[in-house]
Amino acid sequence: MQQKSFKETVLYGLLGLATTITLGFLFWILSYVIINGIAHIELSKLTPAIVTTVYMVGIGLGIAVPIGIGAAIYLNEYARPGKFVNAIRFATECLAAVPSIIFGLFGMMFFVKQMGFGWSILSGGLTVSIMILPTVVKTTEEALKTVPLSYREGSLALGATKLSTIMKVVLPSAVPGILTGVVFSTGRIIGETAAIYLTAGMVFRVPQSVMQSGRTLSVHLYVLANEGISISEAYGTAIVLLVVVFVLNLISYAIAGKLSGPK
């Protein structure tokens, strides 16, 4: 056995301390929100925010997922290395780096004003769809890369066209990976505040159409916290958000488990 020197012991101690701090924060935040909020979960009061959030996720995913998958298919299955592909990759990287407040600024000028959609769930959904697009493209591309070449060869050798090979063999094999990206994007939309509050506004009622303004759960929490009107309701909202995050994580573990499960 090696004798640990004093210096090594201290280092181990510091590493352990750092890890404890990381876990401590998580525990602190979770327990704080849960202890203070558990008595204030009133889903009926949150209905407008929940409905708006669902709309927002629906529009965001509905637009970004098909386009993102299409883009990934192009990049991984069709494109030859060259300027166009480099430009797409560069654009995707840049888009991923843009902070949400800039998306908000843009969405407000473009969708809200220029396109005349007003402060509405539609403007918000369109804005977040651009925001999550790079995530969908990247995760789908990763998923397509894991599909063995032999599947493509097998299908082509049977006289299948490239398109049917992609649609019937490659994409279905990539579904778990793509879903993980979709779940992650859902989490981003639900957690987003800055981009949405500048584009969808903050009207707190159950929206009748996507052309109306609405307030998602995260925006709701921001408004409650900022105005300090009803802190107990804020705790309740925060708990709901945490539960959603928790459930989304569980879903992505379930998908990942399936991904690496028995072959």
Binding site: P148, S150, A157, G159, A160, S173, K263
Partner: protein, 249 residues
């Protein structure tokens, strides 16, 4: 029986590298033709040109002519060609779907939707590939779940379901255990009643056991081709003799 595929003055390049040099070779209908030779001799490359899977290799180029039933394959629609010239790969590559869907994949692609017709094709193809008895009760189960040897026979059944005229097999047993290998070899003997088979193999005993004609390749050239019995007993070329007696390779 006449020639079904004919290769004339074929050169093949990967970029600047000439991988195949002036190949002339015929495949006779309903015979088994084996390609043998050391690794890198170009035998798999040639096989992949025969159904134009080589088109997928970026930077490659073909000179010369290959005909299938007197039709220039480079002028044929690749999809049409590949339906007539099926392929079985070195590593079994069933799709991650049910056994049934794997076999029905090709016919469905051609627009066949009738359930009874599909059932019939699936059953017949699996029977032809000598695997029907083993899988008939689990047609809806994933094809990834069966053993390697079974997977390879499924892939053969999948190719057979397209009713091809030629079956290309790229070292179909190299990833399999000896018992599965024997099963595939028996199967090849059965299949040649109906199909022309062109097979690449590393295993010379295998070529000797199941092929009618054998072609020996070395460094991108076709050294010698002839009746299998003759190639293995009285090869005309010194290089062939050296190879089959194990002096190199």
């Amino acid at each position: 029986m006449g020639n079904i595929m004919s290769i004339e003055n074929l050169d093949f390049y990967y970029g600047d590298f000439k991988a195949l040099k002036n190949i002339n070779l015929q495949a006779v209908e309903k015979e088994v033709l084996a390609f043998i030779g050391p690794s890198g001799c170009g035998k798999s490359t040639l096989l992949r040109i025969l159904n134009r899977m080589s088109d997928l290799t970026a930077g490659s180029r073909v000179d010369g002519k290959i005909t299938f039933r007197n039709e220039d394959i480079f002028k044929m629609d690749t999809i049409d060609l590949r339906r007539k010239v099926g392929m079985v790969f070195q590593k079994p590559n069933p799709f991650p779907m049910s056994i049934y869907d794997n076999i029905a994949y090709g016919p469905r692609m051609q627009g066949l939707k009738d359930k009874n017709e599909l059932d019939k094709i699936v059953e017949e193809s699996l029977k032809k590939a000598a695997i029907w008895e083993e899988v008939k009760d689990k047609l809806k189960k994933s094809a990834i779940g069966v053993s390697g040897g079974q997977q390879q026979r499924l892939c053969i059944a999948r190719a057979v379901a397209m009713s091809p005229e030629v079956l290309l097999m790229d070292e179909p047993t190299s990833a399999l255990d000896p018992i599965s290998t024997l099963k595939i070899e028996d199967l090849v003997n059965e299949l040649k009643q109906q199909y022309t088979i062109i097979m690449v193999t590393h295993n010379m005993q295998q070529a000797a056991r199941i092929s009618d004609k054998t072609a020996f390749f070395l460094l991108g050239e076709l050294v010698e081709v002839g009746e299998t019995g003759q190639i293995f007993s009285t090869p005309q070329q010194k290089k062939t003799e050296d190879y089959i007696t194990g002096r190199f390779g």
